[in-house]
């Protein structure tokens, strides 16, 4: 963590300068899909992609790690791994999120209730593990922290499971930025709620928090081949989204969205008040918006051929709310949907970008797209299909052109999962 003395010195230097010019507004959007409370958007060229990678036994140290990759084309190390920070254990690394001031990344694994805090503000090119929060299970009974969503001075963490029966009943845990637990919020199990959780996303202007639903530890840690043959287990997936009063943190409406709705993206266009999600098992796009004052969910599109279970896993909305990238894991395909009419998305482009693809992130201007390969350790493909990579692409509006690749197996880094972008301009204090 940035030391008090160093920060103080930097502050003193800064304040000694006479010229004090501008304040920065709180961000209402993100270069891809972060919390609207995350500030300091990278609107130019990003310098780094941070990849949260699952450890693989026998590969490197076998532990989960945060990998920093140089993605600035002007750099001599463009497309190269700069460093990695191992957490010393393997816990099904999955997602991560910035604190509101973007000085820290919180990350965690689905197989454990731990949360890792990395300092990326002191030296954006060299993250440092500064804190491990291990008390979530004791405080809440929740297991598998998934989404890390910045709130002002706080982090709202959506979990996927629980330590009692390792099923899908779970909830959200709220921490302050120092990592102190504040409160837990169980997912609703009444009024049509199924108790499952997955992603969360806030629309501050409407005082609305949306959550989606996946499945519990006993399913997501099970080999996918076994799971799909177990009809009873396949019933234990979420079929709902929940509308919450953000201020009160109370569920106000349960929306029926069958087939495990996963990532939630609010349109970033000012004035828009709708969100979109993809249901993994049914391969459908769903729109959430107000109709006659009531929040409603509406199926608005199909992703690929649902009978072939393409498994849409991640989506990334463009900054103008008019385009949506969708990665389908099973067929390794990256798809672009025209969202000009969010009531009727149209697929306008597809490209096979890997033998298996999962997460997708884009730069603020949409010209650079990054794709990783791993879904879950026990759901990834086997043999030669088990590619593990970060691939960087250029997007000219018509064609994705691969610019670089980092082979995570060759580099002994494990399975590449979630990504966040970094920039030297976001250094919290001047370098010495």
């Amino acid at each position: 963590m940035l030391t008090h003395r160093r920060f103080r010195t930097a502050l003193a230097l800064a304040l000694a300068a006479v010229i004090v010019v501008a304040g920065a507004a709180a961000a209402r959007a993100d270069e891809t899909c972060n919390s609207p409370y995350v500030t300091k958007l990278i609107k130019g060229q990003e310098d780094y992609v941070y990849v949260w990678a699952l450890g693989v036994e026998g590969v490197g140290d076998g532990s989960d790690k945060l990998v920093t990759i140089d993605v600035n084309p002007k750099s001599k190390r463009y497309g190269k791994v700069l460093n990695s920070v191992s957490v010393g254990s393997r816990g099904e690394a999955h997602h991560m999120g910035f604190t509101d001031d973007r000085r820290f990344i919180w990350a965690g694994g689905l197989a454990e209730p731990k949360i890792y805090v990395f300092d990326i503000g002191t030296d954006p090119g060299k993250p440092k593990l500064v804190k491990t929060l291990a008390g979530m299970a004791d405080k809440t009974g929740y297991l598998g922290p998934h989404t890390y969503y910045a709130m002002p001075g706080r982090m709202l963490v959506q979990a996927l499971s629980n330590t009692k029966d390792k099923g899908g009943r779970t909830g959200m845990a709220l921490y302050n930025n120092a990592g102190e637990f504040i409160a837990g919020y169980p997912m609703p199990t009444d009024g049509g709620g199924d108790g499952y959780g997955y992603d969360l996303a806030v629309n501050p202007r409407k005082n609305v928090l949306l959550t989606s639903s996946f499945t519990g530890y006993d399913n997501y840690m099970r080999p996918l081949g076994d799971l799909v043959k177990d009809a009873e287990a396949m019933k234990r997936f979420g079929n709902t989204m929940v509308v919450w009063d953000l201020k009160a943190m109370k569920a106000t409406k349960i929306l029926a969205v069958p087939g495990a709705p996963l990532e939630i993206r609010w349109s970033l266009k000012p004035g828009d008040d709708w969100a979109i999600t993809a249901a993994a098992l049914t391969s459908k796009l769903w729109l959430v918006k107000q109709d006659k004052g009531e929040w409603q969910a509406k199926e608005v599109g199909t992703i690929g051929d649902p009978t072939k279970i393409p498994l849409p896993v991640d989506i990334s909305i463009t900054r103008d709310g008019k385009g949506l990238w969708v990665n389908t894991f099973m067929d390794g395909t990256t798809r672009y949907f025209d969202l000009s009419n969010p009531e009727a998305p149209k697929q306008t482009y597809t490209k096979v970008t890997g033998k298996q693809v999962n997460m997708i992130s884009q730069s603020w201007d949409g010209r650079r797209v990054y794709i990783t390969s791993s879904l879950l350790a026990n759901w990834d493909k086997g043999g030669g299909d088990n590619e593990q990579f970060l691939r960087g692409f250029r997007w000219d509006g018509k064609e994705l052109t691969q610019a670089f690749e980092v082979d995570f197996t060759q580099e002994k880094l494990g399975r590449a999962h979630h990504m966040k972008l970094g920039s030297n301009a976001l250094r919290a204090a001047p370098a010495k």
Partner: protein, 223 residues
């Protein structure tokens, strides 16, 4: 209920108030949702408000805790040269609206104070803060304190303790590199025991919501 009256007064004030000459020609953002009623929700204890030495307009050192205890406190960091419309000027307009509404509500006016604290001690000396405050710096029934610090050394624990992010950049677009100071607006609602109970960003800083939160804390104290 008196605080309901405060809300009505706030609405009326927002409709007719003239902009303060030096600070806020723009209007406040409209509230696009119906906030939950006071007392129907819980404001969590986010963290303890930090303490440190500050300077009042008279230049005398005092403990910040003097101004974050006993009353419910709305505290915001500013610097007097800030011009970002979503930054300090927005906070100023919201503080104005809250102050007027609280002053008009007998049930609130003895329970609330406002604190504006500079994070630019090099420029924002007590006399500068006096000019910035103008007629707002008054003790009255609803105190509004304008504070600064003697130096970065004394400011630092407060900035870090509140989690008020400040960033330094160097503008090289001109002939001479200029060091710039940027921040992200945060306003802190502190209960009478000195705990931060809400943090507002510009995306969630509405006078009506702040008043509801103040009323919620008062209702909590009565339980």
């Amino acid at each position: 209920m008196a605080t309901r009256r405060a809300t009505l007064l706030l609405a009326a004030w927002l409709a007719v108030a003239a902009p303060a000459t030096a600070h806020e020609p723009a209007t406040l953002p409209a509230l696009d949702f119906v906030p939950p009623a006071p007392g129907t929700y819980t404001l969590q204890r986010i963290m303890a408000a930090p303490d440190g030495e500050v300077l009042g307009l008279d230049g005398k050192p005092q403990r910040l805790a003097t101004f974050t205890r006993e009353r419910i406190t709305l505290l915001g960091f500013i610097y007097t040269t800030c011009v970002d419309p979503d930054g300090c000027p927005l906070a100023y307009r919201v503080f104005d609206a809250v102050h007027e509404a609280v002053a008009a509500a007998p049930a609130l006016r003895e329970r609330v104070r406002l604190v504006t604290l500079s994070f630019d001690p090099a420029r924002d000396t007590p006399p500068t803060m006096q000019r910035y405050a103008g007629s707002r710096a008054r003790q009255g029934p609803v105190p509004w304190l304008f504070l600064t610090t003697r130096s970065a050394r004394e400011l630092m624990p407060l900035v870090e303790g509140f989690g008020q992010d400040i960033r330094y950049t160097t503008d090289r677009t001109g002939g001479t590199p200029r060091r710039e100071l940027a921040h992200v607006l945060k306003v802190f609602l502190i209960d009478a025991d000195g705990f931060v109970r809400e943090i507002y960003s510009s995306a969630f800083l509405y006078p009506r919501a702040v008043l509801n939160d103040i009323e919620t804390l008062i209702l909590e104290e009565r339980r």
